[in-house]
Amino acid sequence: MAKMIGLIEVDIETCKGCSLCVEACPTSVIELAEEVNGKGYNYAYMENPDACIGCANCSMVCPDSCITVYRKKVEMV
């Protein structure tokens, strides 16, 4: 069986912590960090990286275009 594994990269300095991506993620991968960036915003990061399927929903709703998405198909044994 094949499975999609995804990876998101958040540009921490341009993220404003609006949490729209947290809401849009179907597999609850994204959370807001406890730490803040240079502007004082709690930036988004991958809390559960294993669950990411690379659907790019987070990047679709991001107003600041700070999310880059990668996706790869892997064969499960």
Binding site: C18, E23, S59, D64, S65, Y70
Partner: protein, 260 residues
């Protein structure tokens, strides 16, 4: 040990051939000045993506409005003209007539398009000027501190109607997109939103259609985007999206009004 294997997996995925989404090259590196979660950012982004996909970066001219998006020319790397408050369709008309082969779009908020610029908007659409009009409707004057706009809903609170809009005193909210759909000059009149990934994809599709109409010289394409102003509405971005779906959509229903 486990962290090492995690990093290995990440390095394995993070390759150019696995790239699904990255920031559009038409967007500049400037950080947008908008509040966190503002719909303007999403609309700017899909606009840049459409321009990049169609390969029209060198022949697109945008007309920036007065309002929060007044500094829009800092964010999308195309040619721009700044218009006086409400006069973007008039400036767009001039550009369109001087360079008919260029792609012209105007980008306005509700205070710009539906209040001070109503005459320009209606007459540009009635003449059927060959351009794209993007209308961001958040029911409030966001830039100046959340005053009541023509599109403010009945009973909706703003800083100049703190107890809610009362039609007997303040008049009724204006559905300008429905008005524009009646005019013979318009070819595509649609209302969209950008609150969910599906809605963003639909709005992008509508934009692609509008750029296509412009190429075929079909007339004015009006795209209204029902948006949020979380600072003006005094809510979090997620709450304001929910509030918009519950309160704005019943009065401003999404969908195409005209597609010829």
């Amino acid at each position: 040990m486990e962290e090492n294997s995690m990093a290995e997996v990440f390095n394995d995925i993070k390759k150019p051939e696995n790239l699904v989404y990255s920031k559009s090259k038409v967007l500049t590196d400037n950080v947008m000045h908008y509040c966190p979660g503002c719909s303007h950012g999403v609309v700017h982004r899909i606009l840049a993506e459409v321009i990049e996909e169609l390969g029209v970066q060198d022949k697109t001219i945008g007309v920036a409005p007065v309002g929060c998006s007044v500094l829009m020319y800092n964010y999308i790397d195309i040619d721009w003209q700044e218009a006086a408050h409400g006069r973007a369709p008039a400036v767009g008309t001039a550009i369109n007539r001087l360079w008919p082969e260029k792609i012209v779009f105007t980008y306005q908020g509700d205070g710009d398009l539906a209040a001070i610029g109503t005459a320009e908007t209606i007459h540009a659409c009635n003449r059927g000027e060959n351009m794209i009009m993007l209308f961001i409707n958040n029911g409030i004057y966001g830039m100046t501190g959340g005053q009541m706009a023509p599109t403010t809903l009945k009973g909706m609170k703003s800083s100049t109607c703190p107890f809610g809009r009362e039609p007997a005193q303040d008049g009724n909210p204006l559905k300008i997109t429905e008005l524009l759909a009646q005019l013979p000059g318009t070819s595509l009149v649609t209302r969209q939103a950008v609150h969910t990934p599906a809605a963003v994809r639909k709005t992008k599709k509508a934009l692609l259609k509008a750029f296509e109409n412009q190429k075929q010289k079909k007339g004015t394409s009006v795209i209204e985007v029902v948006s949020t102003c979380n600072s003006g509405w005094k809510m979090t971005p997620v709450e304001s999206n929910k509030w918009m779906a519950e309160n704005m959509f019943p009065f401003y229903p999404l969908g195409d009004f005209k597609d010829e």
